[in-house]
Amino acid sequence: MPAKVVVLGGGVGGTLAANLLAKELGRDAKVTVVDPTGMHVYQPGFLYLALGQANGRWLARDERTLLRRDVDLAIERAVRIHPDAGTVQLERGGRLDWDYLVIATGARLVPDQIPGLSEGAFGFYSLEDAERLREELRRFRGGRVKVGIAGIPYKCPPAPVEFVFMLDQYLRRRGLRERSEITLLSPLNRAFTIESASKVIQPIMQKRGIELETFFNVESVDPSAGTVSSLEGDKAEYDLLVLVPPHRGQELIDASHLGDASGWLPTDRHTLEVAETERIFAIGDGTDLPISKSGSTAHFEAPVVASRIASLVKGTAPRSNYGGRVMCFLETGDGRATSLRFDYEHPPVPPQPNRVWHVAKWLFNRLYWETVPQGRIPETAMRGSRNEVNDDGERSES
């Protein structure tokens, strides 16, 4: 009897894990992906979509075309996981049995947690929001733009910084920059969580005239007054407000009583097993791991989970461990970008923004569909040169 492996979620993590498992195990396993839409969305593209540099068609593909033929796809919403029975309940009444379960259902946007956000703020964290923001930016004739974060943790931590840089460039091109103010509302006393990255980012913000308002954890929006308030008690006026909405775990996780108070899955940082369960693994934005919620994280976690399940099916000891590796590009506008490469033990040493990383991100965006979901990008390529020399002339191991 082949082992039954069910993968919940057809995003980058779920798709890659399913393909790797089917390839590795062949007839020893039957792999099924369950996804409510059957569409695979390339979320890093939302940023480009909002700023008129991409169209929505480029950002979504039929999940079926990204999966190996021997992987089944069920276009269904999973509503309840029963860990002891080894089953998943589906919305339309069906049920799937599993020997191994991979939860890769991601994070859920919950804008309603912030009063006034849905009415007063634009965003670029969903396809629909990015399209709405693009239209609003087309109508924009100058004014005060405030860009902030309305809940932590959120996906793709560099995205708000990338957005202000790319918005600065966008407004300059349209001749609106001098009539506009751009302010980044940051939850900390710096532009970005990671201090080494802030040191690279802040001088560029200064040069471009992008303001930084520190310790601004968004509490509420007053659309009629055109103000956004922080938990720290400050208030900022806006003509255009762009916020990252609060995130939490999926309803499925709450309904299955598997998550913490915010719906995140308690996950072993190395084996990626869900705590206090057996044969259940988690990948990507849905975990409670203290690292970036990003496609890159899921991309690096999927091979670990696939390898561990493959070992268990074959009856050998799993060896593969996740070391916390993440690799992010960070666009700084004007055709330049930097990169953040780090893991649990090594903080990033971002290079000065240059054209090479911008081209690398552009290439990655272009090549994504033909490479990442299928596991065609070798891990070493994403690691960068092992002996890269950083700005201080030291050799970096990242």
Binding site: I152, P187, T214, F215, E232, P290
Partner: protein, 77 residues
């Protein structure tokens, strides 16, 4: 110190800025003069809490470390 701690926030295992965001949220529910205790394991939280209390008008009256756990005692200003 005779004042009692009005609330304790356990942020162990979480990376900044989550401890700061949760602290900002928690301190709103306290009265002026109340003490908030925050426990964290992210070493970055030490400078972050110092800067945060400085900028928000709350007093960081204690910042200590025991076995990798940082303890911050903040008096609401």
């Amino acid at each position: 110190m005779s004042a009692t701690i009005a609330k304790t926030l356990d942020m162990k295992g979480f990376a900044c800025p989550l401890p700061i965001a949760k602290t900002a949220q928690a301190i709103r529910e306290l009265d002026v003069g109340d003490l908030l205790e925050v426990l964290a394991t992210d070493p970055g939280s030490v400078p972050d809490f110092a800067a945060w209390s400085g900028s928000t008008g709350h007093a960081l009256i204690e910042s200590t470390e025991t076995d990798g756990v940082f303890r911050f005692l903040i008096r609401k200003g």
